[in-house]
C-alpha cells in the first residue's frame, strides 16, 4: 500500500500532512503555503482555480467563486456553472485533488489513500458525502476521523502521559468539543458535542452586518444588493476580525465602495475590540452549552481536566480564549498549532492504518484511537417516539440489537425509520434512512419478534438490519443520504474530474509552450534586427519565414483551446526556428 496522507478538509482552509521519520509534517502546496484556502472558482474562460488563486479573484468574480462549501456537505445544495450543476461533493473533490497533487509532488510518488477529517458533530450523511468527495478526487478514503480527536492524536504523540484533555475546536464553519482520555498508548474519546453551524464565518458575518449598518447610517446607502461591494466588505470584515485578535482597534477603509449624486463614497470605519466582542458575544456564548454537555456526558468536572487544547483559527479571538478559561477554569494550552494539528493527527492515523510503528510518547506499544458516535441513533416506534438503540458517545465499532414487535393486529410489514439526534420525538430528529421489512407472518399485535440490529463501523457509518425471527426474513440498509450519489454518479464525477484535470494540464502546458515561443520570437527578431547586415539574404529570408510560421501557429487559437497536436506543431516550429537562427547571437534566449 502506498503511503496514506492525512487531510484536514476545512471550511475556510485545508491542509495535508504525512508522517516522515516518526513525525507528522505538513506538506506545503505548490505556492509554498502550508494551508490552502478551501475556495474553488471558475474563470470566464472556463479555467478552474483552487486555493489562494481562487480566493484572490473572488471580489471580481463572486458569482463563480465558491467558498465554505463544507457547510453544504450532505445537503441538496447545488451550484450551476456554465450549464453544469455541481454538488458539494464535487466542489470539495476539486480541493482534495489539489491537496493530493501537492502531496504527490512532495513525496515524488503517486498517492491513492487518505484519512480525511470531519467535524465530530457531522452526522452520518455528511460523513458519507465527505467519503464520496474523496473518491471523486481519486482517493481511497481509508478512514474518516473527527477533527478534535485528530488534534488530540497529534498532541498525544508528544504527550503520552495518562490524562484527560478537552479539545475546543472552533473552526471556520463548525464548532466541536471533545473530552479525551490518553493513557497506555490509547487515545480514547469519552464524549463529544458541538454545533455544526457555528464558526469563524459567523464572526465575519457579524462584522459585515455591522459595517453595512454603519455605512447605511452615515452615508444613507444600502449596499446589500451590490454583490461586488458586499464581497469587499466581507473580505474587509474578515481582515478586521483577524487584526482585532492582536490589536485593540482597527480601521476598515474601502475607497470607492459605492456612489451617490455627489460622486464616489468611501467606507471608513473604526472598530474596537470591545465593539467586536459586543457584536460576537452571542456567538461566543453559544459554545458554552456543548462544552457543558460534553463534560456531563464524560461524567467529569472541569477540574479533572489535565489540559485544554485550542484548535481552529477562530480560537485566536481573545474573547473565545477568555470564555474557554471561564468555562473550564484552566488556562488553555498553546502547545499545538491550531491550524495544523488536525491534518497532522489524520496523517498519524493514516500511518497506524498502514501498519506503521508509531509510538505514543511514554508508552511501549503502538498507538490506538478509540472514537465515539457523536449522536444517538434510534428508530421510530408507535406514537412517533424515537426509541434509542445506540446512545451518543458509544465507542466505535458498535454492534447492538434489540427486539421489537408489531403495534397493530395482522400487521404484515414494519417501516423501519432510522433517526439521528437527541430529541425524544422522532420528527425532531434527523431522518437518516428508512426501509420496510415485509412478509411478517400475520399475527396478533405484539406477537411477531423483529430483531433490529445497528452496526456502526470505525468510520462512524451505520448499517441497520431488521429480521423477523419467526420467518427468518431479513432486510438491511447501509445508511445513505437522499442526495447520496450512486456508484454510477460517482464514477461519472470521477471521469469528469479527471477530464477537467487533463484539461487543466493541457491549458497549463499550452501557456508554457506559447510563452516560450513568444520569448523565442522576440529574441530572434531582436537579434535579427541587430545583425541583419552580417547575414546572407537567403538566411534572412529563411529566418523570417520560420518566424511568421510560428507566429501564425501561436495566434491561431488562444492557448486555452489548443490541443496537444497543435502544441506539438508549435514545438516543431520552434525547433525549426532555432535551427534556422543558429547563426544569430542570441545570448538572452534560453530554451
Amino acid at each position: 500500500m502506498s503511503r496514506i496522507i492525512g487531510i484536514d478538509l476545512g471550511t475556510t482552509n485545508s491542509s495535508v500532512a504525512v508522517v516522515e521519520g516518526g513525525k507528522a509534517v505538513i506538506i506545503p502546496n505548490e505556492r509554498g503555503e502550508r494551508s490552502t484556502p478551501s475556495v474553488v472558482a471558475f474563470t470566464n474562460s472556463g479555467e478552474r482555480l483552487t486555493g489562494s488563486l481562487a480566493r484572490r479573484q473572488a471580489a471580481v468574480n463572486s458569482a463563480r467563486t465558491i467558498s465554505s462549501v463544507k457547510r453544504h456537505m450532505g445537503t441538496e445544495w447545488k451550484i450551476s456553472i456554465d450549464g453544469k450543476a455541481y454538488n458539494a461533493q464535487e466542489i470539495s473533490a476539486m480541493i482534495l485533488r489539489d491537496l493530493r497533487k501537492s502531496a504527490e509532488e512532495y513525496l515524488g510518488e503517486p498517492v491513492t489513500d487518505a484519512v480525511i477529517t470531519v467535524p465530530a458533530y457531522f452526522n452520518d450523511i455528511q460523513r458519507q458525502a465527505t467519503k464520496d468527495a474523496g473518491r471523486i478526487a481519486g482517493l481511497n478514503v481509508q478512514r474518516i476521523i473527527n477533527e478534535p480527536t485528530s488534534a488530540a492524536l497529534a498532541y498525544g504523540l508528544d504527550h503520552g502521559a495518562a490524562q484527560k484533555i478537552m479539545v475546543y475546536d472552533l473552526g471556520g464553519g463548525t464548532f466541536d468539543v471533545s473530552i479525551i482520555e490518553i493513557g497506555d498508548g490509547v487515545v480514547e474519546v469519552l464524549a463529544t458535542g458541538g454545533d455544526n453551524h457555528l464558526g469563524g464565518d459567523d464572526f465575519d458575518q457579524a462584522v459585515t452586518d455591522y459595517l453595512v449598518r454603519e455605512f447605511q447610517r452615515t452615508e444613507r446607502i444600502d449596499v446589500r444588493k451590490d454583490v461586488a461591494a458586499m464581497q469587499r466588505i466581507r473580505e474587509a470584515a474578515e481582515q478586521a476580525k483577524k487584526e482585532l485578535s492582536v490589536t485593540e482597534s482597527t480601521t476598515v477603509q474601502l475607497p470607492y465602495l459605492s456612489q451617490n449624486q455627489n460622486g464616489p463614497v468611501h467606507l471608513d470605519c473604526t472598530i474596537t475590540r470591545a465593539k467586536f466582542n459586543e457584536l460576537t458575544r452571542e456567538l461566543v456564548n453559544r459554545t458554552a452549552i456543548p462544552v457543558q454537555n460534553a463534560l456531563n456526558d464524560a461524567g467529569i468536572a472541569a477540574s479533572e481536566l489535565g489540559k485544554v487544547l485550542l484548535v481552529g483559527g477562530s480560537t485566536r479571538i481573545p474573547a473565545v480564549q477568555q470564555k474557554v478559561k471561564e468555562l473550564t477554569g484552566k488556562e488553555p494550552s498553546h502547545s499545538i498549532n491550531p491550524d495544523e494539528c488536525v491534518a497532522q493527527g489524520a496523517a498519524i492515523q493514516g500511518e497506524v492504518l498502514s501498519g506503521g510503528s508509531l509510538q505514543l510518547a511514554g508508552s511501549d506499544g503502538g498507538i490506538l484511537l478509540l472514537d465515539v458516535t457523536p449522536l444517538s441513533l434510534s428508530i421510530e416506534t408507535v406514537g412517533g417516539v424515537a426509541s434509542r438503540l445506540v446512545e451518543r458517545n458509544s465507542t466505535l465499532p458498535v454492534h447492538y440489537s434489540q427486539i421489537f414487535t408489531t403495534a397493530a393486529p395482522f400487521q404484515s410489514s414494519v417501516d423501519i425509520h432510522v433517526l439521528q439526534g437527541e430529541r425524544p420525538m422522532a420528527r425532531d430528529n434527523k431522518t437518516i434512512g428508512r426501509f420496510k421489512l415485509k412478509g411478517i407472518k400475520k399475527a396478533m399485535a405484539g406477537v411477531p419478534q423483529i430483531e433490529v440490529t445497528f452496526d456502526i463501523d470505525t468510520n462512524g457509518i451505520l448499517k441497520v438490519s431488521a429480521k423477523d425471527l419467526d420467518t427468518g426474513k431479513e432486510q438491511s440498509i447501509t445508511i445513505t443520504a437522499n442526495n447520496k450519489m450512486s456508484d454510477e454518479e460517482i464514477e461519472q464525477a470521477i471521469r469528469d474530474a479527471e477530464q477537467y484535470a487533463a484539461e487543466d494540464q493541457i491549458r497549463r502546458d499550452a501557456m508554457t509552450v506559447c510563452s516560450e515561443a513568444q520569448m523565442l520570437l522576440t529574441n530572434v527578431e531582436q537579434a535579427l534586427a541587430a545583425e541583419k547586415k552580417q547575414l546572407e539574404k537567403a538566411e534572412r529570408k529563411q529566418i523570417k519565414e520560420e518566424c511568421s510560421r510560428l507566429k501564425k501557429l501561436i495566434t491561431k487559437k488562444t492557448p486555452e483551446k489548443m490541443t496537444y497536436g497543435e502544441l506539438d506543431e508549435i514545438k516543431a516550429a520552434m525547433k525549426d526556428l532555432e535551427y534556422a537562427s543558429a547563426c544569430l547571437n542570441m545570448s538572452e534566449y534560453r530554451p
Binding site: A301, L368, T381, G384, P397, Y400, F404, A407, G446
Partner: protein, 253 residues
C-alpha cells in the same frame, strides 16, 4: 446481549474499575479493527468488547434490557393500531408506550398520567436530605430560589466519581428550570436507572413523560384531536397494558 462481560474482558467478577479499564485497553490493542484491516470479524469482536466494557462501567444502562431479554414474553393482542402512517384514527399514538422501558426507564402508569390530572408545577421544589453535604445543600437552596444557572455551575464542579443518582436528580431539576428539557429528561432517566426505587425521582420522570404527552397531543401531528371517547378508549387500553405487562415491555414499531 453479552452474557458475561467479565469473561469477555478477562477480568474477575470483583475487579475494580481501574482493573477493568486496564483490561479493556489491552483487549482493544489486540482486537481493534484498525490493527486487523483484513479481518471482517474484527469489528464484531471489538463491538463485543466495547459492549462488555460499557456494561461494566455503566451497569444501570443495561438493567432494563436484561429484564427484557430474560423475561421476553410476547404480549397478547391489544387493539392498538399502528400510527406509523399517522392516518389511523385510534392509534396508541398519543401515548408513548414505545418510550416506556427504553433505556431502562421503568416508568409506571397511573391514572393521573392517563387523564392528565397530575399537576404540573412550573418550579420544582427540592428538599434537603440528611446526608447531603454542605455543598449539595447550597445547590438545593439555589434550586429552590430558582437560581438554576448557579446551581448548574456548582453541580458541574462535582467530580465524576461523586456523581450519584442524587446528582442526576438535582441536575435534572436545575436543567429543567433553565429550560434545557432534553438534557433534564436524560438526567432524570439516568437517576431512575441508578436508583429505581426512589419515588421522588420517579415522580419527576412521570411529570416529564406527561409533559411530553401533552406536547404530542397538542402537536396533533400523528393523530387528529383527542376526543374524550378516544381518551377513554386509550385509558382502558393502557390500563390493560399496565395490568398485563407489569414485567418486561416489548417495543412496538
Amino acid at each position: 446481549m453479552i452474557e458475561n462481560p467479565h469473561q469477555v474482558l478477562g477480568v474477575s467478577q470483583n475487579a475494580t474499575q481501574d482493573e477493568i479499564k486496564k483490561a479493556y485497553r489491552q483487549k482493544t490493542k489486540l482486537y481493534h479493527p484498525d490493527l486487523h484491516p483484513d479481518d471482517p470479524g474484527a469489528a464484531r469482536k471489538m463491538g463485543e468488547i466495547n459492549e462488555a466494557y460499557d456494561m461494566l462501567m455503566n451497569p444501570e444502562k443495561y438493567a432494563a434490557r436484561k429484564a427484557q431479554q430474560q423475561g421476553y414474553r410476547p404480549s397478547g393482542g391489544y387493539s392498538q393500531q399502528s400510527s406509523q402512517t399517522g392516518q389511523q384514527g385510534y392509534g396508541g399514538g398519543q401515548y408513548q408506550y414505545g418510550g416506556y422501558g427504553q433505556n431502562g426507564t421503568a416508568g409506571d402508569f397511573t391514572f393521573e398520567d392517563l387523564f392528565g390530572f397530575g399537576s404540573w408545577q412550573e418550579s420544582q421544589r427540592v428538599t434537603e436530605l440528611p446526608n447531603d453535604t454542605p455543598f449539595v445543600r447550597t445547590i438545593v437552596q439555589d434550586i429552590n430560589y430558582q437560581r438554576y444557572q448557579r446551581a448548574l455551575q456548582k453541580l458541574m464542579q462535582i467530580p465524576g466519581a461523586e456523581r450519584n443518582s442524587r446528582w442526576y436528580y438535582l441536575a435534572a431539576v436545575a436543567n429543567r428550570g433553565q429550560g434545557n428539557t432534553v438534557q433534564a429528561y436524560e438526567q432524570i432517566q439516568r437517576a431512575v436507572q441508578m436508583e429505581p426505587g426512589n419515588m421522588t425521582y420517579q415522580r419527576l420522570l412521570r411529570q416529564f413523560q406527561q409533559q411530553q404527552q401533552t406536547y404530542q397531543r397538542n402537536a396533533g401531528n400523528h393523530n387528529t384531536g383527542a376526543s374524550d371517547m378516544q381518551r377513554m378508549c386509550m385509558g382502558i387500553c393502557a390500563a390493560n397494558m399496565c395490568c398485563n405487562l407489569c414485567g418486561p415491555f416489548s417495543f412496538y414499531i
